[in-house]
Amino acid sequence: MTATRLFNAHIIDPSQSLNGIGYLDVVDGVVNAIGLDTPSKSGKFEQLIDCQKSCLSPGIVDMRVQPADPGAEHLESLSTLLAAAAGGGITALACLPDTRPVIDEASAIDSLCLRASRIGGPRLHAYGAATKGLDGHEMAELGLMAEAGAVGFTNCATSINDSLIMRRLLAYSNMLDKPFIQHCEDHALTKDAEMNEGETSTRLGLLGSPSEAEVIIIDRDLHLLRRTEARYHVAHISTRAGIEAVRQAKAEGLAVTADTAPPYFLLNELAVSTYNTAFKLSPPLRSEDDRQAVIEGLADGTIDAIASDHMPVDRDAKMQPFGPAQPGASGLDTLLALSLTLVHQGHISMARMIEALSLAPASILDIRGGTLSPGCSADFILFRPDSGWIVKSANFISNSRITPFELHPVQGIVDATYVDGTAIFLRD
């Protein structure tokens, strides 16, 4: 039996409404006791850690990470992906299936999870591709993938635009008790689009993607959801209209959840003005009004979760004119610090932020994490929310070093990341 006590920590655990100076006792990788009161002197601890009032919270559960491995290991191997996640305070992550080969069958899920467990680090979960080869037409073997441990199904960066297939996917996912994760985009409306449609796209001569492309798919899916019982999740939501649709659906009692990512609450389309391809993302950076709506949605809980939307992109695919450049950016190293911006700016409380980064995604995917209740796995992080640094992609642990936040000043440093009570990351 090994026992560790962390004391003099600023405990933040929204699942137990804990927010104050307290302690955490971990025995054999499991939370034994947690509280804001002075801990009892009794009990023998192999390790006593004075946290010096650092924040201690459940680890981040990142529900949207695109691995490059298998298929494009030169961009990012599973090892650097997991190391970067650990350094970013992430104790569990859910991987998108857009790899080579596509994760559209049980053996691919097995293989990814097995390799991750050999490497160690954060808990790795995998989504199954909703359709074979992500082609959008033929349903993949969802049942077999669910048995292999798939935590949900998604067609990655493309929407299921065929309504009949979408209806069946929703129903079938629900039969397996898994959520369906949709990237919402009417692809006919965004054909050839290069950025968000508006005055900026007009000035830059770039083809615009109208923000309605998101809500059109959300609205359709919500109609299907009224007829088909299912758990439906909107990924990286980015528009006011889309958020409003989710808000109303929640009020109506539908099983809808949503996440967003830091670019959508910290940046807007004006960032594209210099044609810098680091700002080319999918969905595209939206208008300032949309950005405000994302913040409001996070504050009132319409948007449940924040994910990194980590996507390794080849530098050569970015060293292009804006149009042909590939969308996507790195996100693991910066997720916590960028999310803390909302706290520092007074938009959301620290507890709400931890909930969005941890409890909410864990409960959407029904996976371990998100809470430090006694009896739960001791997956937690220590961080100093006020320590400032400048984002420099050259210093990322991740090998994926394209970020729209290069040289962005941020506050918030992760000092340690624990999974099952064992440190998987300790800052020097």
Binding site: E199, S201, R203, L204, G205, L206, G208, Y275, Q320, P324
Partner: protein
């Protein structure tokens, strides 16, 4: 000299090269009225003295024309402009070059950079390509058209053409008609003519109107005849069929019917209204031949001629800045 009509022209006292704030000429947006006027004044002078060796500013300088899209008039115009100023010109067209072998834009830039050109004139089908090149090359870059973004020397030559014929730009009513969405010429002209105080109208089918363009200081019309009503200049744009997805207009027949310029529709413009077109024209699609070739009303040939003078002013300004 077909452009010899200089009635009402303002005096152009400036004698030296135009002065530019930037090392590159990437677009009109952001240029000051002073910079634009100094280029136009100098262009005016070059137009008056096209062969006289007024300047050998480009003597000993190398100018590379790098064209990723086909072009006759713009490329030849730059070549002629550079040669008249004593420069040596190298033309690279993408067909038959290493670009066809898969070389990226930036690798091409690096290669060309090693040859130490003084000015790189580039046309590319992607918006922002000229800016990207300028960030990776030591030479001054002139944007000869990037995607749907800007074509600054076209706007300068258009303004020079108008100024030589009418003597001013301020206060003129100018209609820009046609495929606005896909046109870099339209965007550069909106910036330039707006900066110099013209009243701008855009006339086009609503499907070829880019988002929020009303914020750029223009009024928008989707009815051709009311759009050109009382206008001093009717500037027609080429229907950019190569950039279109095929659903913007039902047919060329319908397009000409609703948005093509003929002598009948031109009656709605001001009595002495002049017609412009950046070329190449789709005769019978956006403009009928009788109107295009009407020497009284059409400035289209003068535009081509002014292209050389305007580009001489730009090239000279940039090398002077380099020195």
């Amino acid at each position: 000299m077909t452009q010899g009509d200089t009635t009402g022209v303002q005096s152009h006292k400036q004698t030296g090269p135009a002065k530019l704030a930037n090392r590159h000429l990437l677009g009109i947006e952001g240029m000051s009225p002073l910079e634009i006027r100094s280029l136009l004044d100098r262009g005016h002078m070059f137009a008056d003295n096209p062969h006289d060796g007024v300047s050998d500013a480009l003597h000993g300088k190398t100018i590379i024309n790098l064209f990723y899209e086909n072009s006759t008039r713009t490329r030849v115009s730059f070549e002629l402009a550079a040669k008249r100023l004593g420069g040596s010109v190298l033309n690279i067209s993408v067909a038959g070059s290493s670009v066809k072998k898969g070389e990226t834009l930036l690798d091409t830039a690096t290669t060309l950079n090693a040859m130490h050109p003084d000015i790189l004139v580039v046309r590319h089908n992607c918006s922002g390509a000229a800016l990207l090149l300028s960030q990776h090359i030591d030479a001054s870059v002139i944007n000869a058209g990037d995607g749907r973004h800007e074509h600054p020397t076209q706007a300068l030559l258009d303004a020079l053409t108008i100024r030589r014929r009418i003597g001013r730009i301020e206060g003129l009513k100018i209609a820009i008609c046609g495929d606005i969405a896909n046109s870099r010429v339209a965007r550069s002209n909106i910036h330039l003519l707006g900066t110099l105080g013209a009243e701008l109208r855009l006339v086009c089918p609503v499907t070829l109107l880019p988002a929020n363009i009303g914020n750029m200081g223009v009024s928008v019309f989707t009815d051709f005849e009311s759009g050109i009503e009382g206008c001093d200049i009717v500037m027609m744009l080429r229907l950019q069929t190569e950039r279109m997805a095929g659903t913007e207009t039902p047919s060329q027949r319908e397009y000409f019917n609703l948005f093509g310029l003929d002598s009948g529709k031109l009656m709605r413009a001001a009595p002495k209204a002049l017609v412009m077109h950046p070329g190449p024209m789709n005769r019978g699609v956006e403009i009928d031949s009788a109107t295009a070739d009407d020497v009284e009303k059409s400035l289209i040939r003068t535009q081509v001629e002014m292209g050389v003078a305007a580009r001489m002013a730009c090239l000279e300004a940039l090398v002077t800045r380099l020195a």
